[in-house]
Amino acid sequence: MLARRNFLKASLAAGGGLLLTATLPTLAKAATLGHAGPDAVTLNAYVRIAPDGRVTITAKNPEVGQGIKIMLPMLIAEELDVAWADVQIEQADLDPRYPAQVAGGSTATPVNWLPLRQVGAAGRQMLIAAAAAEWGVPATTCTTAAGQVMHAASGRSLSYGALATKAATQPVPDLKTLTLKDPKSFTIIGKPTRNIEVPRIVTGQPMFGIDVSVPGMLYAVFQKCDAHGGRLVSSNVADIRKLPGVRAAFEVKGGTDLRGLLDGVAVVADSWWQANRARQQLQINWDEGDIAGQNSADFAATAVRMSKGRPETILRKDGDVNEAFGRAAHVVEATYHYPFLSHMDLEPQNCTASYADGKLEIWAPTQNPAPGSKLVSATLGIPESAIKVHMVRAGGGFGRRLSNDYMVEAAWISKVVGAPVKVLWTREDDMRHDFYRPAGTHFFKGGVDANGNLLALADHFVTFSQDGVIANSADMGPTEFPARMIEHLEFGASMIPLRAPTGPMRAPRSNGLGFAFQSFLDELAHAGGRDPVDFALNLLGKPRLLPDPPGPRAGPGFDTGRMAGVIRLVAEKSGWGREKLPAGTGMGLGYYFSHLGYFAEIVKATVNATGAITVDKVWVAGDIGRQIINPLNAENQAQGSALDGIGQALGQGLHLEGAKVVEGNFDTVLPLRMRQAPPVEVHFLVTDHPPTGLGEPALPPALPALTNAIFAATGKRIRSLPLKDHDLSTTA
């Protein structure tokens, strides 16, 4: 148990800084909050049962497309033992009764797997106790199924609806004494379960943040300095007030924390279009501050310069790499680079806030409402107890909505104008004011022996710092694969100061590191004349669990056998090495362990004479433990993650110039489109390990699998992304 608690604590720290130590007691408390409502009976903070037997289960976490609004209630419903068809789901507000209301780090499954089933089981036990009392029989002689308590000996049964009121008065069971279902008898968990929101989605019902409507609501836009952190000097805001529909326009003096309220000009109007049109006529003098060197071209030059010296920090040093390179049969040196990326949630950032009489009500499509509430409280000077945050379905998250800058903007503007206000960003706002996936450059050197086995590897990682410390999500751990697989290895890092804010994006760190390391390993496999699958299996060696070094990020370790398992599976499913591919077509492998999930992917791609890339197919094999909670959604998430990686690799990358992001819309940063999207075949390897999350770990292997496939197809090694910047044509 202790190990598990540690691991939970660690995995959560990556996704939002939540702690399990606080989680279990709070859950236990939530389970005790039973009281009878007007018609439906509230069994605990998660479950309400109506007299007709319909069960309303609260979905406590923010829904951003990961399917959590279905999945968490499935856990409760399973152990409560109700028919899924009788379940209604209600989105929770931000509420201290619920722990870990966050969407990030693929943590929801490992964090909630046990506790939410316990919540359901506690409810079931209370219902049984109520029935047993009613019938005067021992509780142990009662069973349940599909919303009924049964007493087999007497043939009696009572519906949950009939029992709910009495059940709510039963003592709350000790969570430790609860027996949970044998997974073999699951009727909901593990069954393909449709998203109950789809009927509303396909008929266009209002349900997203951008759709929120509050009586008397005005619309606002907020112009910030595109040079991140620039300060407002002056503006023609007085002229803007005279424009059609404009109700208010004012300057905002914000702070210096890029995650909080920043300097800017707010324009509030009767319609969003009017607000935005008026904003386009703003003329603002900014103090952009020191923008020297804050250009992509300068970063590239600096990285090269840094690579010539020793790394500023040594992250890991095993054996003697130089000695090993000296006796290697082949030594390869290569530089890999991946660009800054924007999350590009399809729904641009927005938030609706209504301030009145010292109270604030907020409707936010956020992945992380609790810090948002704190930020608003601190910025506006309103106690958190006077702030109500409703979590609204978000049109994508991918890590962007872990920050709550849009929330504090809406709150501030509403307070100034004294009316409900919806702040909505343009696509350009969204792309130019993101918390970017940091770029990174890896100066690699690797050596293989005469048999083509990896002997030694060195990486000088040139990354970014912010205010003197490593930029958010720009770090690399000492256990980055293939660390621990070989005797001679050295990781070092140097940092370039960066002004643009960075942050976690789907599979943070891994989304860039996976590309760089897995491509370079492929390069080394080829240098030694080895098949990449063989090379990988050989590198992984015999199945063993490698514990993580102690520290705040220590997890359950790395299981080489599980990694090898998915590599074997994906090789088998894809027919790796079994067929002769036509000229211009190749297959590539990528494998990566992140967010507790083991994934291996193979991409088949074709490059024609003009250099056009066709991604023919992707095979995904994943090991996320013994239980896939909702296979229907799991497949969708894995396909989406793999395609997200393919899209990034093909067409996405941002440039900085003078501390500003140059790109602003989808004509310059290209999202994946239907014509580029290959079929994705997903296979899960069920192993006897705790269930883990899925939103992220299927992404990192897709990028190197694609670039390695392009190498196989063309002999051209892709060492930087995106692919659209490479000329792969073979005709003049």
């Binding site: 386009q280 006529q281 003329q283 350009e428 003009t610 250099g611 140059v662 004509d667």
Partner: protein, 430 residues
């Protein structure tokens, strides 16, 4: 003020100052500002984000890059010590104060037509109303073997008529005013008149049929402003022309490319009388070629709607362009320009069309207000072949009859041009 008599004497010898052109100007500086707008001085003598008239814009020419000068009245780095006479010499003759010959990127061959009064008003404006900016000019990058400026004097004797504007007594005042604006300050010919072997405009007024007959400058093909029915303004009414100059758009098309600078800084600031005069003058220029007026052909739209259009580029058009320009090619003017019958689309030179597909169009800003609809860029999304196919489709659909475009032409343009920015740039006059 002390200089006035001298200047007056000078002007007397230079040109007539038609009484018809005496504008009811409130003040010399206001009149000068108006003329500076008409001449679009700010477009070349400023950089986006920089101070107005402080120069610094790099202008590519076939012989190298010219950096425009600081024309604020700063004593050291600008024109603060220019007398009216020296100012006049620079504007109308292209000779700087120190006697060096200016490069003809400065349209002094056109400005030679300015009246004395207008030169003086401009002088008053620049000296009194423009704030001095201390900004040292960047050197030009003309190769040494080309840089001695003396050949320019030769250029001048060859190509710059020494006379100013002369009234055409056969025409009315309105026409003459239009001619004065178009051939003089407006320097429309700088882009719209073909240039000859030495980069000279082949004609400087309506006396020659090549005048404003369309040209290519900096990879933008400026269409003919003559009455050609397909590739010129033959189908445009006088009101269409006025609307275009005032707002950058009308039922026939929208301004983009280098014309954007003109709309963003110049013509919307002119009064209706002057814009009408320009339109009257342009409508008087006979067609330079016999053309058949485009007849709209509905089969293109029908084919696109069927989802089975087979013409080269049709599927690409449907996927990338149709959602704005519509299957009819009629789009939503004046907000989104039509492609059917649009002179720029059927221009013999497809450069502008290719350029705008590759690089998109930056915002048109009419008196500080940017337009609501913007052409995105496609250079990242489509390859040369695809863009060539789309452009070919557009040039031959809906009754348009223009030659196909080769992928190489797109590739060459791609290398030479940069994408436009979506950022709104307002070049401030002060």
């Amino acid at each position: 003020m002390k200089r006035m008599p001298l200047v007056a004497a000078l002007f007397a010898s230079l040109a007539i100052a038609p009484a018809a052109f005496a504008q009811p100007a409130p003040s010399p500086t206001a009149q000068g500002e108006y003329l500076a707008r008409a001449g679009d001085c700010v477009a070349c003598h400023s950089v986006p984000g920089g101070k107005a008239f402080a120069g610094g814009l790099k202008m590519g020419t076939p012989v190298g890059t010219i950096t425009t000068t600081n024309i604020t009245p700063d004593i050291e780095t600008g024109i603060g010590i220019y007398t009216l006479q020296e100012f006049d010499r620079a504007v109308r003759s292209g000779v700087a104060r120190d006697g060096h010959q200016l490069y003809p990127a400065m349209p002094y061959p056109s400005y030679a037509k300015l009246t004395d009064a207008d030169v003086q008003a401009l002088y008053e404006y620049f000296m009194r109303a423009v704030p001095p900016v201390h900004q040292v000019r960047q050197p030009n990058s003309i190769p040494v073997y080309l840089s001695p400026r003396w050949p320019l004097a030769v250029w001048n004797t060859l190509f710059t008529p020494s006379l100013g504007f002369s009234l055409d007594p056969e025409r009315d005042q309105q026409w003459n005013r239009g001619a004065y604006l178009v051939t003089g300050l407006g320097h429309c010919g700088a882009c719209h008149t073909p240039r000859g072997w030495a980069m000279q405009e082949t004609a400087l007024d309506s006396g020659n049929a090549s005048f404003l007959s369309g040209a290519n400058l900096d990879d933008w093909s400026a269409p003919s402003l003559r009455q050609n029915v397909a590739t010129g303004l033959g189908a445009w009414s006088q009101a269409d022309i006025v609307q275009f100059l005032k707002t950058g758009r009308n039922q026939h098309g929208s301004a983009f490319g280098s014309m954007r600078d003109v709309i963003n800084n110049s013509t919307p600031y002119l009064n209706d009388e002057d814009l009408t005069a320009i339109a009257v003058y342009l409508k008087s220029l006979p067609a330079s070629a016999q053309e058949t007026a485009p007849a709209y052909d509905a089969t293109t739209a029908a084919a696109l709607l069927s989802g089975k259009a087979e013409a080269v580029g049709a599927a690409l058009y449907a996927g990338n362009c149709q959602s704005c320009h519509r299957e009819t090619g009629a789009a939503a003017p004046p907000f989104v320009p039509p492609l059917a019958g649009n002179p720029t689309v059927v221009d013999k030179d497809a450069a502008s069309l290719i350029n705008v597909v590759l690089n998109g169009s930056g915002p048109l800003v009419v008196k500080g207000k940017p337009d609501a609809y913007r052409m995105p860029q496609f250079r990242e999304q489509l390859n040369d072949r695809q863009i060539a196919d789309i452009v070919t489709f557009i040039r031959s659909g809906w009754g348009n009859r223009a030659a196909p475009v080769a992928a190489k032409e797109v590739g060459d343009l791609r290398k030479r041009t940069d994408p436009t920015s979506d950022k709104v740039v307002v070049l401030k006059m002060r």
